[in-house]
C-alpha cells in the first residue's frame, strides 16, 4: 500500500462475537479508506456495527466473546492486526486516539483531571512530570476550558458533561495522533454544546492535519462536517461516497429511506416518514440482502431474497451494495 495520503485502509474486516446463542456477526467484510486530514463519517442506526468497527481498529474488542475473524487494517501502510499487543499499545492513545459517547462516565472519578491527562502524555512521550503537567495544561487551553490551572487539580465530578468531553478530547490529542476516532461524541450532550464540541474538533483537525473517523447517527452532523460518508446497515457497508453525493444522489434504498425520514423545513407534513420494520438482530440476519424485508423495491424481488449484493462501484467514488443501484 503506497502512501498516497491514505492514513487508514480497512480491508474486509470481520468481527464476530461468540455467545451461547450462537455467533453474532457484528461486522462483516467492511472496507473503507481515510485520507490524511479528512473526515469520514460512519453512519447507521444503533446496533449496526459502527462502534464495533471503531473498537476493532483500536483492537479493544473484549477477547473472550469477541474476535476479529478476518481482514486487514493498514495504518500508515502497516497491518496493525498483525501487531503484538505491546506494539498496539504504543499506537493507542499515541497515533490513533479515541473519544467515546458517554463523557459522564469515561473519566476515572478518583483521579484528578490533570493526572489523567498527564498519564496519557507520560505514557508515550519522554517528559518529566513538570513538563507533562505543563503540556496537559496547554491541552486544556487548546480545548477552550476556562481556568485550566484550576481544572487541572479538580476531580471529574465537578465538571459538566460538555466540559468532560473537552477533557476527553484534550487527553486524546495530547500526543498529536494522526487519526482520531470519535464514537458519537455529541450524542449525550445538549444541542448547543454539540455545536461547540464539533467546532472544536474541526479546529483541531485543521491545525493538526488530523484525520477523523466520525461515528454518528445524526445526518445533520454528517452534512456539516464530513468529507466522505459510509453508511452501515446490519454489519455491512451499504453505501460509500463523498458527502455531497450522498445527499444529492443517494443510491441505496436504505440511504434514501434515511434521508426521506428527515423532517423538511418549509413543507407541511402530517406524519413523518419512516422505514417500515426493525433493525435485525445480529444473531438472526435475513438471508440475501439484509435490508430486503424493509426495502420498498427489494421486498418482492427473489434475487434480493437470496443473493447478497456486494459493494460495487457505481460511479466515480460512489459505491453501493444494491442490485437496483447498478441499473
Amino acid at each position: 500500500m503506497t502512501d498516497n495520503g491514505t492514513i487508514l485502509s480497512i480491508q474486509n474486516l470481520s468481527t464476530f462475537f461468540d455467545t451461547e446463542q450462537g455467533t453474532a456477526k457484528a461486522v462483516q467484510n467492511v472496507s473503507f479508506d481515510i485520507k490524511k486530514g479528512q473526515t469520514l463519517a460512519l453512519v447507521g442506526e444503533s446496533g449496526c456495527g459502527k462502534s464495533v468497527t471503531a473498537l476493532s481498529i483500536m483492537r479493544l474488542i473484549p477477547s473472550p466473546p469477541g474476535r476479529i475473524a478476518s481482514g486487514k487494517i493498514f495504518f500508515k501502510s502497516r497491518d496493525i492486526l498483525e501487531f503484538s499487543e505491546r506494539q498496539m499499545r504504543r499506537i493507542r492513545g499515541n497515533k490513533i486516539a479515541m473519544i467515546f459517547q458517554e463523557p459522564m462516565t469515561s473519566l476515572n472519578p478518583v483521579y484528578t483531571i490533570g493526572s489523567q491527562i498527564v498519564e496519557a502524555i507520560s505514557l508515550h512521550q519522554k517528559k518529566s512530570y513538570q513538563q507533562a503537567w505543563q503540556m496537559a495544561q496547554e491541552m486544556l487551553e487548546r480545548v477552550h476550558i476556562p481556568d485550566p490551572d484550576r481544572r487541572m487539580v479538580e476531580y471529574p465530578h465537578l465538571l459538566s458533561g460538555g466540559m468532560r468531553q473537552r477533557v476527553m478530547i484534550a487527553m486524546a490529542i495530547s500526543c498529536r495522533p494522526s487519526l482520531l476516532i470519535a464514537d458519537e461524541p455529541t450524542t449525550a450532550l445538549d444541542v448547543t454544546i454539540q455545536a461547540q464540541i464539533l467546532d472544536l474538533l474541526d479546529e483541531l483537525q485543521k491545525s493538526e492535519n488530523m484525520s477523523v473517523l466520525l461515528i454518528t447517527h445524526d445526518l445533520g452532523i454528517v452534512a456539516q462536517r464530513a468529507d466522505n460518508v459510509a453508511v452501515m446497515y446490519a454489519s455491512k457497508i451499504v453505501e460509500q461516497c463523498p458527502c455531497g453525493e450522498l445527499f444529492n444522489n443517494p443510491l441505496h434504498p436504505y440511504t434514501k429511506g434515511l434521508l426521506n425520514s428527515l423532517p423538511q423545513l418549509g413543507t407541511r407534513q402530517n406524519r413523518l416518514n419512516t422505514i417500515a420494520g426493525n433493525v435485525p438482530e445480529p444473531l438472526d440476519f435475513p438471508s440475501g440482502c439484509k435490508f430486503h424485508p424493509r426495502c420498498p423495491v427489494g421486498c418482492n424481488d427473489k434475487k434480493c431474497h437470496t443473493e447478497e449484493p456486494a459493494l460495487k462501484q457505481v460511479s466515480a467514488n460512489h459505491y453501493a451494495a444494491c442490485w437496483y443501484a447498478e441499473k
Binding site: L60, G93, T105, N108, E119, A120, L123, H157, M171
Partner: protein
Amino acid sequence: MTTYIIRRILLMIPTILGITIMVFAISRVAPGDPVSLSMGPGGQLDAQRAADVRKARMALYGLDKPIHVQYAIWLKRVVQLDFGDSIKHHRPVIDLIAERLPVTITLNVISIIIIYIISIPLGIFSAVRQGRFSDKVSSVILFMLWSLPSMWAGQMLIGYFCGPTFKNWFPPAGLSSNFADALPFFPWLGDRLWHLTLPVICLSYSGFAYLTKQVRAGMLDNLRCDYIRTARAKGLDNWTVIFRHAFRNSLLPIITIMGTLLPAMIGGSVIIESIFSIPGMGRLAFEAITTRDYNVVMAVATTAGFLDLIGLLLADIAYAIADPRISFERIE
C-alpha cells in the same frame, strides 16, 4: 477533613448513650428478682450470697428509686468507668475488663490484618481470571468456607490438630504455655504466636471468604465501567489498568466492609475464645453468663458496643481519606 472527623465523633455520642439505654433496659425488662435470677432455675442460694447480691444491686442501681433516676445513677457510674464489682470474682469489673480487653483486641486486629492482606490479592486475581477453572474452584471453596460454622471448625481443628487422638501440632488452649513467662522476648513471642495460630484461623476464615467475594465482585463491576475503556484506549497495559484504575475505585467498598466485619468478629470472639480457652472479653462474657454475673455482662455489652463504634469510626476515617469527594471539600 478535620471537621468531618469531629462531626463523626460528635455523632457517636448519642449512639453511645443509646447503647447504654438499651443495655440498661434489657437488665430492667428481665423477669424475676435479682436473687432468683442469680440462682437460675432449680438452684438454691445460701442466705449470705443472696444478701450479697441484693446489696450489690441496691448499691449499683438504687432499686427503690424511679426508673429514670436509676438509669441516671447507673450512667453516672459508667461514665466514671465504674461498673460495679463482679459477684463471682469479687473484684471491680473494670479491672477484669482492663485485663481481658487487650487480648481480644490483639486477636481481632491480627485477624483483620490477615484477612485484608490475603483477600485483596486473591479477590483481584480471581476477578482477572474470571470464568476460568481456578476461579470456579476458588469460588466454591470460598463459599463453603463462608458457610462453615465457626464452632464446628474450631472443634474439628482442635480435635484433629491438638490432641492425642490424631496429630499434636498445636496447643489446644490458652494464650501462652505455662513456662512462657520465663522466656526471653522472641521465644515468648513465638510461643504466643503458636498459641494464636488456630484461633486466628478460626476467627478470620469466614471474614476472609466474604471479603474476597466482595473484592472480586467490586473489581468485576469496575472493570466493566467506561473509564476502564478510556484507560485502555490511552494505551495502558493490563496490570496498570487493573491496579491503578479498577482497584483504586474498588477500594471504597472494601474499606466500608470493615464496618460489617468488625462487629461480626467481635461477636465471633465469644465462641472462639470459649473453645480455645483464651482469656479475652468474649470468654469473660461467656463465663459471666453461665455464672449469672450481671454486672460483668452489662459491662461487657457496653464495652463491646463502644469497641465497635471506634472500629466504625476508624473505617469512616479511612474512607474519608480514600474518597476525594470528602477529603478535598473546598470552601467555595
